[in-house]
């Protein structure tokens, strides 16, 4: 009984130790999961932004206009810029 406090403390430490290891493992698996998600999003963003860049190329747009028969041409006149006075 004299050592009760000591035993309780040891037990608590043991519990914390075991629980800590468990949370660490959980965190690790969460990190792994999030990293996979991040990679997923990153690669998808890359693929899509690359496609967008490709589609917005001058020649690409010209090709599309030609294909759709819109009859639009690049203007030879400079554009007007409207500004606030």
């Amino acid at each position: 009984m004299k050592n009760m406090r000591f035993i309780v403390i040891v037990l608590v430490i043991i519990f914390v130790f075991i629980g800590h290891r468990y949370t660490v493992l959980q965190k690790m698996s969460e990190i792994e999961k999030l990293q996979r998600e991040l990679k997923d999003a990153k690669y998808e963003a890359l693929t899509i932004s690359a496609d967008l860049t490709k589609a917005s190329r001058l020649t690409e747009i010209e090709k599309m206009i030609e294909k759709e028969g819109l009859g639009l041409k690049i203007s030879n006149d400079p554009v007007y810029r409207i500004r606030k006075k």
Partner: protein, 733 residues
């Protein structure tokens, strides 16, 4: 009672103690046997097994290779993972019946997505893989039975299913296919990540950007990728894999450091314009190759660079970095260098003249010829300025002879002084002497300085000057005599932070005297105004530049021409310098008509793209009015109203009628008479309610008023006879 209680307690305690003792003994036995295993030789063995099953040591973490961007952050090259798809037929959970059940659907799905193989072929590949495993299994058993200790090589652990490497998006798709959507230990699907480079702009400036080896660890193979490989590639890290809670997980020991991102000076739009303009001309002239470079005058940034080579089929593709590596005689574009040297050394003034006659001049037994010599016309004397304008070899060689015949070293020293002999390093990888200007020196024993070297050098032969040097020289002129090195790599970025920003290296802060510069600039404008490049003249802005037509030396003889044009625009406030060179065009070689036209095309498109007009620049349409609308009505009252807001009627003050129609245009208000008679229905359209009602009632009619605003219609047409007392309806809006 108490006694019994005690007795009872003792009994309970006794039984309870026994159970505790037994449990403790059991626990002790477990601890003992566990300790025996841990501390004996057996423990060592198990620890090894445990480690083997739960930790895979030290694998490399590949860093992400940095991306390459345009000046405004568009992706030119980015790391894109590609995946090789394999199957492991020794996978623990693979079942023969499941495989056979799904293989048909799987093959069909694969063939649909990746038509490199037909469904039947995919089926064969997969089933052959399984059969191979069975063969291996039989052999293993056979070896075991016969006690042979040889290992059976397990080739069926790694069978390639899809020929090509597939993208991440495709990979996610095949992971939904039948059988492949099972866990990887059941499907045996192995996915091997490979790093590749994606270029969203396709072939645009592709050789300048360069390429990487398929095995990304080898890094850049050409272009910027190679030049800046050490910065782009990053530093690998170390990880191990551990089995935690039954799942394999990466545990990072040393994190990988990703490579730097490289921001270039390139402008995708200008690059596109440049490539297109050059390609069109090359197709038209069926030339062997062509180069075009656009550089921003003040910053030295290369905005576009295109090197196109003709292929067997007659199409043009990005080829050698000719802008840097084309080591040939520059031709007439070099004349400007000679004149700059001569003006600075006080040899001539722009108005000094030299006799050219019919364009032939014999020097030490060799003929200097002007392009017009066959015409036979005697042109008499030409000034220095005219010599540049019409690109006369005779004038330029006579200038060189006048100043430097007795001391050719002085001529080369002058070129030195300008800065054109300075060896420079460029942003693309080059071999040997590529990218340096090879300009001879009289003392050089390896390269004999002959009696005719000086005059021929003066108009662009005997030297090897790559296009980039000529570009730099003309940009120096455009930039007020400050010669800066054109460059492509602008910024290094890591995690969105700028680590390093580059600026153009100043090659020579002052190429020549200010007066010389002014005179040279004037002559270069003359080339376009009245010289060899009249066709290059633009309606939109002034251009200055110089044409070049050089014969191409090959094996001691000359065959074909290299036509070029180098200049800047707008000449009065230079923004861009551009060099265009075309090798071996068909037809009459012409620096102006061939290379110059590409220049003009590029310049006008860039100008249109960059120019901004303001509304004041817009010519006003004379019918367009910014004035408030005034309703038709009483003349004097309209005038009062307009005067109160500060406007006046600009003309037709003296109309006889009291009733007016008021128009306005960009100049102001104009009044026109409205004839109003009391005998006829007046035209009240365009009037306000008060005036309309007044006029109509004055004729004796009643008015039915609908709406508010100005009159848009009236029920009796104007000019018809009035019947007193009838009601006329007017609609106002």
């Amino acid at each position: 009672m108490e006694q019994q209680q005690n007795n009872n307690n003792e009994g309970v305690m006794g039984r309870y103690g026994l159970i505790v003792a037994i449990l403790l003994l059991l626990a002790g036995l477990i601890v003992f046997s566990a300790g025996k295993i841990i501390f004996s030789a057996e423990g060592k063995k198990w620890r090894e097994v445990g480690k083997k099953e739960t930790v895979i040591n030290d694998r490399v973490i590949l860093p992400n290779r940095g991306n390459i961007y345009t000046y405004d952050g568009k992706l030119l090259a980015a790391g894109e993972p590609l995946y090789g798809v394999y199957m492991d037929f020794w996978a623990d959970g693979m079942k023969k019946d499941t495989l056979y059940k799904y293989v048909g659907d799987l093959s069909i799905a694969l063939a649909k997505k990746f038509p490199g193989r037909s469904a039947n072929q995919y089926r064969d590949v997969i089933l052959n893989g399984w059969k191979l495993r069975e063969t291996e299994e039989r052999r293993m058993k056979d070896y075991q039975a016969r006690g042979i200790k040889k290992k059976v090589p397990l080739r069926s652990r790694y069978i390639r299913i899809i020929k090509e490497d597939i993208s991440y998006v495709d990979l996610k798709e095949i992971q939904t296919f039948p059988f492949f959507n099972l866990r990887s230990n059941k499907s045996g699907l192995i996915v091997e990540e490979k790093n590749a480079r994606k270029k969203p702009f396709g072939n645009l400036a592709t050789r300048t950007i360069g390429s990487v080896y398929k095995d990304l660890e080898k890094g850049g193979a050409s272009g910027l990728e190679l030049k800046y490989d050490s910065l782009l590639r990053g530093i690998p890290g170390v990880k191990n894999r551990q089995k935690i809670q039954g799942k394999w997980m990466d545990v990072v020991e040393i994190p990988a450091q990703d490579g730097y991102d490289l921001v270039t000076t390139l402008d995708a739009d200008i690059q596109e314009i440049t490539e297109k303009a050059l390609r069109e001309k090359l197709m038209e002239t069926e030339a062997e190759s062509g180069t075009a470079i656009v550089m921003e005058v003040k910053t030295g940034e290369i905005k576009a660079i295109s090197n196109l080579d003709r292929t067997g089929s007659g199409a043009y593709y990005e080829g050698n970095p000719n802008a840097f590596s084309y080591m040939n005689e520059p031709g007439s574009t070099f004349k400007t260098v000679t004149v700059m040297a001569a003006l600075d050394d006080g040899v001539v003034t722009p108005t000094d003249s030299f006799y050219v006659g019919n364009g032939l001049f014999q020097y030490k037994g060799k003929w200097v010829r002007d392009h017009y010599w066959r015409q036979g016309r005697d042109r008499g004397y030409l000034t220095v300025a005219e010599g540049i304008e019409i690109s006369s070899n005779v004038v330029i060689s006579k200038i060189a002879l006048k100043g430097y015949e007795n001391n050719p070293k002085k001529y080369v020293d002058a070129i030195d002084r300008i800065g054109l002999r300075k060896p420079l390093s460029w942003d693309v990888p080059l071999n040997g002497i590529e990218g340096t200007s090879v300009i001879r020196y009289p003392d050089d024993k390896n390269n004999y300085w002959s009696k005719t070297t000086l005059p021929w050098m003066s108009f662009g032969y005997e030297s090897k000057v790559p296009p980039i040097y000529m570009l730099m020289f003309y940009n120096g002129i455009a930039n007020g005599g400050r010669m800066i090195k054109p460059f492509i790599a602008k910024k290094l970025i890591k995690d969105g932070k700028v680590i390093n920003e580059f600026e153009a290296e100043v090659v020579n802060p002052k190429m020549c005297k200010d007066t010389t510069l002014m005179q040279i600039k004037e002559m270069l404008r003359g080339v376009i105004e009245k010289g060899t490049a009249k066709v290059v003249k633009s309606d939109f802005f002034p251009i200055a530049g110089k044409t070049g037509t050089a014969q191409i030396a090959s094996g001691g003889a000359y065959s074909g021409y290299y036509v070029s044009f180098c200049g800047y625009f707008p000449a009065d406030d230079p923004q861009y310098t551009c060099f265009v060179g075309i090798r071996k065009p068909k037809g009459v070689p012409s620096g102006g008509g061939q290379a110059g036209m590409v220049f003009k095309n590029i310049a006008e498109q860039i100008f249109t793209r960059n120019a901004r007009l303001f509304p004041e620049n817009c010519k006003v349409d004379s019918t367009l009015s910014k004035l408030p609308f005034v309703k038709n009505g009483h003349k004097e009252k309209s005038e009062v109203v307009l005067a109160s807001i500060g406007w006046k009627i600009t003309d037709n003050f003296d109309l006889p009628s009291n009733w007016v129609k008021i128009n306005s245009d960009s100049l102001g208000y104009h009044m026109n008479e409205l004839t109003v008679s009391e005998k006829k229905v007046p035209n009240v359209v365009g009037m306000g309610a008060r005036d309309a009602v007044y006029l109509l009632e004055k004729t004796g009619m009643r008015v039915n008023l609908i709406g508010a605003g100005k009159v848009v219609s009236q029920s009796f047409p104007p000019g018809s006879g009035v019947i007193k007392g009838t009601t006329i309806s007017i609609i106002l809006q």
